[in-house]
Amino acid sequence: MSPVTAEEEFLLALTTVRATYGTASINETDLKDIVTIEESRVADAVVIAELIATRINAQQTQTGAQPSTFSQAQEDTSPPLPTPIPFPSSASTPPLSIADLIEGMLTQERRDVRKPS
C-alpha cells in the first residue's frame, strides 16, 4: 500500500470535519486563503534555507569541517526536487563561480557591441 500523502491526509481530515459538523462548517474561501498563506510560508522558508545553505557550506569548507551534517539534514527534510544527472566530466572540475559566469556574460555583451550591425 502506498504511503498517504499530505494532500490525501488533508482531504481525509476535511471529509471527517464535514461529515461531523456539516458541509457549511468550513468556508471554501477561508480554506483557500489559509492554503495560500501556508504555501507562501513554506516557499519563503525554502528560499531562506537555500540562500543560507550557501554561506554555511562555504564556512564549513573554509574551516575544513565536513559539510555532510547539514547537507544530510537538508536531504532528509527538503521537498523532493529533481536531481540532475551527473555529467561525467564534472567530478574533476571545481564548482563554477557565479562571478565568472557573469564575467562571461559581460564579455559576450561587449563582443556583441563591438560587432558591426
Binding site: 528560499v47 540562500l51 551527473p86 557573469i102 556574460m105
Partner: protein, 383 residues
Amino acid sequence: MSTPAVVEKNITPTPSAQIPAAPVRPVKAASKIMLAGFDLGTNKSCILAGPAGHDDITLSKIIPSVVGYVKEGIVDGIIAGNASILFGDDALSNMLHVNLVAPISEGVIEHPAATRDFFQRIRSLIDPSGQAEIRTVVGIPANASDQAREDIRQCALGVFDRILLVPEPFLSALGFRDDSRVGQAGYVDPVTNSLFIDIGGGTSDLCRVQGCFPSKEDQICIPFAGDAIDEILHNELNRLYPNNGLSRHKVREIKEANAYVGPVRKPIDVRVILGGKAHMLELGEALGRAANTLIDKIYPALTTLISRASSDSVVTLLQNIIITGGGSQIKGIDTVLQKRLADDGFESPKVKLAGQDYKRYVAIGALKAARAARENQWQYLLT
C-alpha cells in the same frame, strides 16, 4: 534611440521621449547597500532582497505586475490612505476604482511611466528608509533586444543605483542550483549541463546551460506563453458561450486551475457566475486545445537546442530538461514533452518539473548573482 543609461560613469544620459524623466533623489552619503534579485514578470514579479555582506533576506515578495491609478472623483476613504497609485494585489482588489496598467507586455516594457512607478514601489519595499544604495539584478527574456534592455535601464534610472540585466532562464538555473551540494560526490551542478524551459506570462524561454554563460545560440525565446493561452481560451469561450462577460483575469484563473496538455480530458466542468447566476461550463476540449498549442510552439525550439549540443554532452543533457515558471503547473506538460521526445527517437529523455518554488527561481538566482557579482561588474545608473 535613447542614450544608454549605464556603464560609463562620466556620461550623463538623456531620457528618451518615451521614458519619463528620472526623479532626482537627494545625494546621500555612502550608506547601507541593499542587494536585490528581481524577476520582472509580465503578470507577476518576484523580489528578494537583503543587505550586502549578510545572508539575511529582508524582503521576499511576489507582486502582480500591475499598477492602478485611482480614478478621478473617488471619494475620500474608499481607497486606503487616499492613495493615488496602487500596486499589485491592492490595485487588483480595487479594480473598480482604478485604471489598471500592466507595465510589461511579452516580457518587455510596454508602459514606461507605469514601470517607473512600479520600480519606485519595489524600491520602497526593499528600503523603506529611502537611504540605502540599491543594487539589483533583473531577469530579462533570453532574446531581449538592446532597446528592451535600455528601456529597463532608463526606467530604473534614479530609482536603483546599480543594475545587472541577466537572462531569466540562466537565473532559473542558478536559482535551482542547490549550492549546499555543489562539489559533493553524487551531485552535479545543473549549471554544468541542463536545458531549462521557463514558461512565463509573456514569453517562453529555453536555455541550454553547459558550464559557461549561455551564448545566443544556447537560448531561444518564444513570444508565446501563459497570456497567449489565456487569449486562445478566451476566444474559445466566447465562441462556445457568446456574451459570457468573463474577464481575462477570470479566464486566467480558470486556466491556472484546470489547464492540461495531452489527449482530451472530458468532462472538466467549471463553475462561473454569469449575469449573477451560477453556471457550469464544460471546458475540457477548450482547455486542452489552448494549452496544447504551447507544446506545438515549444517543441521545435527544444529540439533545435538539443540538436546544437555536442555529441559528448547530449545524452546527459537529455536527462536534465527542467521546466519552470507558471507554465510548469500545466498538468501533464513534463510527461507530454518527454513522450514526444522519446517517440521522435531521442535517447532516454527525462523532463522534470522544477518544483513548488517555480515562482521564485529567477529571483533566487538573481539574488545569488547580486551577492556574487564583483564590484566592477555592476553597471552604474546615473541621473
